[in-house]
C-alpha cells in the first residue's frame, strides 16, 4: 500500500515559513494542501535583511509585484558588499564584492592580466574596479536600474535590503489571499509521533491536532520538530567561525532625503565586524562578535563608536547564536528550513538564500509518496550539507586573508587548525591560478568562482602569473578592460540616485514589461 503525500504542515511563520509556503504553493497549490501554523506570542528573529539576486526570481515566481514589494517592505537595492578595514584595518582599507561578474567572465579570465599589471604599476586600480563597473556605481550611491526598466529586470545585477518583519507579513498576505495557503494562528504544545517514528501531528492550544504528510520545521533557533522532537544533533562550527553574538540596532537616517547606500557595508572591528544595511526609513546596524574574545560591554562600546554619539540613546538587542547546522536537515517526514537548520554570521547574506534554495529543492523534489520520501531526503541532505560547507569555506576565506594583528580574534582566525581542509586545498591551487569554474563543479554551488576572485584579490592575495596563459590572447583582455571603463562612464552618467529611484517606484510603480 502506498501513502500519497497530500498535505504539508509548516511550523513557524517568520521569513522561512512564509517563503517556504509561497515557493511550494506556487508549484503545488493544486495538488497539495498547505497549512502554516504560526504563534502569536513568539516573535520572529528577523535579522535577515540582506538577500541575494536569487530573490528576484523567487518573488517573480511566486507572483509578487516588485513595485508592491518596494512599497510594503521598506525595501532598497543592494549591489553587493563593501568590506571596510578587513585587510589591514587602516581607515582607507576597503574592497568590494559586487554582484556584476568581471567583464567577459567566465569565458575570459582577467585576473592574471590584472595581477601582472598591478605588479608592474604602483597606481593600478583595485581588482573590482578594473574588471567591473559596479563599484563605481556604488561609490556614487546610484541605483542598479532605471524607472523604465521592467520589474525584476536590472541594468546592473542587484539584490535587496528589506525589513524582515514586514517581509514575512507581506508574503503571508500573498500566500493566504492568492496561493490558497491555510493560516493557523496558534501555539504548538506538543508533537505526536507514528509508530515508525515520523511526525503524525502537532498538538495545538486551541486548534486541536494538525496532521500532515510532510512537516517543515521553520520554528527558528528552537528547531521544535527536527531538533527537539526528532533529536537530530547540531554540528557546532565555532571552531572555524568564531562569531557567536550579535548586537542589533535600528538607526534613523540623517533626514528623509538622505541617499540610501545601495550596498551592504561590513566594517571589521577588533573582535568581529559591523553590518550596515540601508532601508528606506532607517539603517539596520549590528555588531557580530566572538564572546570568547571580548565582552558584550566592550562590544557595545565599539558599536556605539560606529553609529555615533547622537544615537547613544538607542538600545541594541543582543542575540546569542551558535554557528553551525543540523547533522541532517531532513529526517523521516520532517525537513528544516531557516534557523532551525542552522545559522552562520550574516557576512555574505546566506540565510535568506538558503531558505529560497531549500524550499525550491523541496518543491522541485516533492515526493509523491511517503515511500519515496527517504530517497528525496537523502538527496536533500547531501545537497544542503554541501551548501553549508561551501558557505563556511567562503566565510572563512574573508578571515584567513586578513592581515590584522590588533587582537587575538584576527590572529586565531588564521590558525591553520581552524581552516577547513577543503579551503586549505583550494588556497594551495590558487597560488598558481585564479579561481575558475573548474573549482566549482557541483550543481549545488553557492558562490560563483568570480566571488572568490573578488574576495581574494580584493584582500591583496597574490598569485604567480607565470604560465597563466597571459600571452594567449592579450587583445581580448585589453578590449575587456576598455569595455569596463566605457560601461563605467555610461552607467555612472545614466543611473539615478538610489533614493530617487525608490521614491519614483513608490509613486509611479515599475511596469511588468
Amino acid at each position: 500500500m502506498v501513502s500519497p503525500v497530500r498535505s504539508i504542515c509548516i511550523v513557524g511563520g517568520g521569513t522561512a515559513g512564509w517563503l517556504t509556503a509561497g515557493i511550494i504553493a506556487a508549484r503545488h497549490r493544486t495538488d497539495l494542501q498547505i497549512t502554516l501554523i504560526e504563534s502569536e506570542t513568539i516573535g520572529i528573529v528577523g535579522v535577515g535583511e540582506g538577500t541575494w539576486p536569487t530573490m528576484r526570481t523567487t518573488l517573480k515566481k511566486i507572483g509578487i509585484s516588485e513595485t508592491e514589494f518596494f512599497r510594503q517592505c521598506n525595501t532598497s537595492f543592494k549591489q553587493g558588499a563593501k568590506f571596510a578595514r578587513w585587510t589591514t584595518g587602516e581607515p582607507s582599507d576597503f574592497y568590494y564584492h559586487p554582484l556584476v561578474l568581471p567583464e567577459g567572465f567566465p569565458s575570459l579570465d582577467l585576473a592574471p592580466f590584472w595581477t601582472k599589471y598591478s605588479e608592474e604599476h604602483a597606481q593600478a586600480p583595485s581588482f573590482s574596479n578594473a574588471v567591473c563597473y559596479q563599484e563605481a556605481v556604488c561609490e556614487l550611491g546610484l541605483a542598479p536600474k532605471l524607472i523604465t526598466s521592467p520589474e525584476y529586470a536590472g541594468i546592473a545585477n542587484y539584490a535587496y535590503h528589506l525589513d524582515a518583519g514586514r517581509f514575512a507579513s507581506f508574503i503571508r498576505e500573498h500566500c493566504v489571499a492568492n496561493l490558497g495557503v491555510r493560516h493557523v494562528v496558534d501555539e504548538v504544545t506538543g508533537v505526536g509521533r507514528t509508530e515508525g517514528g515520523d511526525i503524525a501531528y502537532v498538538e495545538t492550544a486551541r486548534s486541536g491536532r494538525l496532521s500532515g504528510d510532510l512537516f517543515v520545521d521553520c520554528s527558528g533557533f528552537r528547531a521544535l520538530l527536527l531538533g527537539q522532537a526528532l533529536e537530530v544533533p547540531f554540528v557546532d562550527c565555532s571552531d572555524v567561525l568564531f562569531i557567536d553574538r550579535a548586537l542589533a540596532v535600528q538607526v534613523p537616517h540623517e533626514n528623509e532625503q538622505s541617499n540610501i547606500t545601495p550596498y551592504t557595508v561590513s566594517t571589521a572591528q577588533k573582535n568581529g565586524w559591523v553590518w550596515d544595511i540601508g532601508l528606506q526609513s532607517r539603517r539596520g546596524v549590528g555588531y557580530v562578535f566572538s564572546s570568547k574574545h571580548t565582552t558584550t560591554d566592550a562590544a557595545l562600546g565599539e558599536l556605539r563608536a560606529y553609529v555615533g554619539q547622537e544615537h547613544d540613546h538607542l538600545q541594541p538587542r543582543e542575540i546569542k547564536i551558535t554557528p553551525g547546522h543540523r547533522e541532517t536537515f531532513w529526517k523521516g517526514n520532517c525537513v528544516a528550513v531557516g534557523l532551525s537548520g542552522g545559522f552562520l554570521e550574516p557576512l555574505e547574506a546566506s540565510a535568506l538564500v538558503l531558505i529560497e534554495l531549500s524550499a525550491e529543492m523541496i518543491s522541485g523534489l516533492m515526493p509523491a509518496t511517503r515511500e519515496t520520501m527517504d530517497i528525496v531526503a537523502r538527496r536533500f541532505n547531501e545537497t544542503t550539507r554541501y551548501r553549508w560547507d561551501r558557505i563556511i569555506d567562503f566565510l572563512k576565506l574573508h578571515y584567513i586573508l586578513s592581515r590584522r594583528t590588533d587582537s587575538a580574534f584576527w590572529i586565531d582566525n588564521r590558525d591553520p587548525a581552524s581552516i577547513p581542509a577543503s579551503l586549505r586545498e583550494q588556497m594551495e591551487l590558487w597560488r598558481y591560478r585564479a579561481p575558475g569554474d573548474q573549482d566549482f563543479m557541483s550543481n549545488s554551488e553557492m558562490f560563483p568562482a568570480a566571488s572568490y576572485q573578488y574576495v581574494l584579490f580584493g584582500m591583496g592575495f597574490r598569485m604567480q602569473t607565470r604560465g597563466a596563459g597571459l600571452e594567449r590572447d592579450p587583445g581580448s583582455a585589453q578590449r575587456a578592460f576598455a569595455q569596463n571603463e566605457a560601461l563605467k562612464v555610461k552607467w555612472t552618467r545614466l543611473l539615478p540616485k538610489n533614493r530617487d529611484l525608490i521614491d519614483r517606484i513608490k509613486e509611479h510603480g515599475l511596469q511588468r514589461i
Binding site: 532605471l146 524607472i147 511596469q511
Partner: protein, 238 residues
Amino acid sequence: MNIVDLSRSAHGGLRIAADRIEATAAAQHLIPIVVSEFRKAAIQYPIVFAKNPETGRFAPYVLTGLTPEENLFWTGTELDVAYVPLNVRRQPFYVGGESALCVDLDSPCLDEAGTKLLVNADGSDSAHLQSVLAVLGELVAGRAPTEQFIASLLALDLLAPMLLDIVLDDGTPLKIQGLYGLDEDRFRQLPANELSGLWSGGRLDLIYAVLLAGGQIFNLIRLKNRRIALGRAWHGND
C-alpha cells in the same frame, strides 16, 4: 526651456513665427499623442507605446524616425505629412499646473518678426491663440481616456516589447529598442466578454487603429532608404 505662465498683458507683444512650429519636431523620433488622434495618426505613422523616462509609465506615440533624434518626415522646412500631431501644433505653449496656459520663452518659435500675434489690438485673443487653446484643450481632454486605454491594455496583458529588426537597402542593420506594441496573438485569443468590454468602451476602434498603423513602418523604411540614397548622391559616392 523657460516655461512661464502666459500673461496677456505682459506677453501681449509676443509674435509667433508660424513656419518654425513644425521645426520643433525636426529632431524627434517619437511624438506623444492622445487617443482622439489615433485614427488621424494611423494614416501617416506607426502608433507605438513607450515609457515616459521620468515616470516609467506607458504612453502612446507616433514613430517618426528609426533612430533617436531622427524625424524622417522633416524636409528641412516642414513636416511632409497629412496629419500634424497636436503636440507639435501646440508649440510653444504648454498647460501648467492648475490648467494654467504657459509659454516657453526660449522657444525659437517666438520671434519679433513672426507673422502671428497672440493678442489682437482690442486685447482679445488672436485667431492663432484661439486655435492653440483648442489644441491644448483637446490634449487636456485626451489625457484621462488615454491613461484609461493604456490601463486596459496592461490589465489584459496586451502590450509587449516590440522587436524591430530592419536591414536597410545599403545592408545597414537597424535594431530599435525601448518600443512596445500590441501583442496581436494575445489580442486574437481574448475571450468574447473581454472583447465586448473593449468594444462598449470604444477601445476596440483604437486597437484596430494601432494594428493598421503598424504597416506604416514600411513607409518609414522607404523614407530612410531614400534619405541614405540622397546622402550618397550628395557625397558623390553613388
